[in-house]
């Protein structure tokens, strides 16, 4: 039997349910519909069949964006799965001032990607600190074109993403490390296992599920990259627009007089297809855990 009026639960979930319908369910369906139309920011909206997808097949910028996404993912995946774990192990020990260190590592996480990209843009500038210092050391003669070379720009953005992501994934690892039993470590130490050996045979198996979860999160967020590339390239997508990401293309077509909401929706579906692999893996992991 229930102990409240029948409409009370509905009253309480109503706002969230409205939001769910208006800002989640409806846009999902509408993306599917729009992808088959020629909707523009100003007018349009007629059914055009597969025209948007035909256009996508011929789109060189899309091909570049897909290559960029894959490179982005392949570099971020190992580094952002392993480095935060190593840092978490260092930070885990109950040292005095540990709160300060945690917060310091978390600072790049709470800063906006725009702020971080502007800071790195200035560091990596032709006349910025990195190039200036390297020239002063005599390591290089001319400035390295970090922000104006097709590949260097991509790798600059990648290193920025990694730098910003370390703290975020470290926190997830920290709570997982708390569950690895201390006795196992002690037993392994008694048996003469060194720190490296203990890392691979005690810590890694202990946080295995978290590692899988994080590798999925890293892959998906690498495929969704936007702000870092946008700000570092000043919105241009780098030389010849070859450093666009998928989301940058979606943004490009979603506004202004040159916009094409139908095509942007088709690109959104491409993004969905690309991210679905890691997502399915995540769902399977969830099911296993439950």
């Amino acid at each position: 039997m229930t102990h409240h009026r029948w409409f009370t639960p509905w009253l309480l979930v109503a706002p969230a349910a409205v939001w769910l319908c208006v800002f989640s369910v409806f846009p999902s369906i509408n993306t599917l519909v729009l992808a088959f139309t020629n909707a523009k920011p100003l007018g349009g909206g007629h059914f055009t069949g597969l025209a948007n997808f035909g256009r996508a097949l011929d789109d060189d910028q899309l091909a570049d964006a897909l290559v960029n996404s894959i490179v982005y993912m392949l570099v971020c995946l190992p580094l952002l799965t392993l480095l935060p774990l190593l840092i978490a192990i260092l930070v885990e020990k109950k040292l005095p001032g540990i709160m300060f260190f945690r917060t310091a590592f978390y600072t790049p996480v709470v800063a906006s990607a725009v702020v971080v990209a502007l800071i790195w843009g200035w560091l990596l500038d032709d006349r910025g600190l990195v190039n200036g210092f390297a020239q002063w050391l005599g390591v290089i003669a001319a400035p390295v074109p970090f922000l104006t070379d097709r590949w260097l720009l991509l790798f600059s953005a990648i290193s920025l993403t990694i730098w910003k992501g370390l703290g975020y994934y470290m926190i997830i690892y920290l709570s997982a490390l708390g569950n690895v039993r201390r006795e196992l470590h002690e037993a392994a130490a008694v048996d003469g296992a060194g720190p490296v050996r203990r890392f691979w045979s005690v810590t890694v198996p202990g946080v295995r599920n978290t590692m899988l979860l994080i590798s999925v999160l890293v892959s998906v967020s690498a495929l969704r990259v936007f702000s870092e590339l946008y700000v570092l390239s000043n919105g241009t997508g780098g030389p010849g627009g070859r450093d666009m990401s998928l989301v940058m293309l979606i943004q490009l077509y979603s506004r202004g007089f040159t916009g094409h909401l139908g095509y942007a929706s088709a690109l959104s579906l491409v993004l969905l297809v690309v991210t679905i692999g890691p997502m399915l893996l995540l769902l399977r992991l969830n099911r296993k855990a439950a």
């Binding site: 009370t8 993306t31 709470v110 800071i119 200035w122 560091l123 969905l272």
Partner: protein
């Protein structure tokens, strides 16, 4: 290691305080400004209305924080503690939305906001995120962790749903609620892509969009951009530093319970 995370921010702070006379392009720049000055902060405000951008960001963040603190909490409570028809279906829908990256629906999200007449408004920026589906689920998890016996005792005493929420629910979900509100604030303050799509008039820009506008249009002087980034960065760091105890505690609790 620590230097690697913090020093870029300090370098930017230092650049923002350097005067026009000081050569910032030299190959042996000094870490401390020779003559620290706040002139760059005044000048950046003359170049773009950076303080009204900050106010715009604050308005958006306030709506998002309030919406999530109320909307996600009451919905999470109902889903966890009250029995009603359709609860399972609703929960399934909330879960399903998590699989979809936000960027996939961002175009039709914009179409929706535009048809509501909210294109190029701060309300249009704030509204879609004002009740986050993930936050509803997080709050539900937190309410579920409260022992059933406490509720049963309250029901026997004749407590209404509202009284159970206020006197049993809320005091026990403070940790998760603080994580949700802190994340809501940070997310709204830092967001770039969505306001970039919704806002077209430079007068309406939020800080992140305004900073990119400053960078793209007036990129001649790194000191000004540095000052602008600090105006965006310092408030969030101060908020976070002040609340970090609750944040890390909430994250740990959530990890243990969830």
């Amino acid at each position: 290691m620590l230097a690697l995370t913090v020093s870029p921010f300090l370098w930017q702070l230092s650049t923002s305080l350097k005067s026009v006379q000081e050569d910032i392009y030299t190959r042996t720049p000094s870490f401390l400004p020779e003559q620290p000055t706040l002139a760059n902060y005044a000048e950046v405000a003359e170049t773009v209305p950076v303080w009204s951008y900050a106010a715009n960001s604050l308005v958006v963040a306030a709506i998002v924080v309030a919406g999530n603190a109320v909307g996600a909490t009451i919905a999470g409570f109902a889903l966890a503690k009250l029995r009603f028809r359709g609860a399972k279906l609703l929960l399934g829908l909330f879960l399903a939305t998590l699989v979809l990256p936000g960027e996939v629906t961002i175009v039709s999200q914009y179409v929706t906001v535009r048809s509501l007449g909210l294109a190029d408004t701060l309300l249009g920026v704030a509204l879609p995120g004002a009740i986050g589906m993930l936050n509803v689920l997080l709050m539900r998890t937190a309410f579920q962790a409260i022992p059933r016996e406490m509720d049963e005792a309250a029901i026997i005493d004749g407590a209404t749903a509202w009284q159970r929420l206020r006197h049993i629910g809320l005091p026990n979900v403070r940790g998760m609620l603080s994580v949700v509100t802190i994340f809501a604030f940070i997310g709204a303050w830092d967001d770039f892509l969505w306001p970039l799509i919704v806002l077209t008039d430079p007068a309406n820009y939020t800080l992140t969009v305004g900073l990119q506008y400053l960078n793209g249009t007036f990129s001649a002087n790194p000191r000004l951009i540095a000052a602008g980034t600090m105006i965006s960065f310092l408030p969030i760091v101060i908020v976070f530093a002040a609340l970090q105890r609750f944040f890390f505690k909430g994250v740990e609790e959530g990890a243990i319970k969830g």
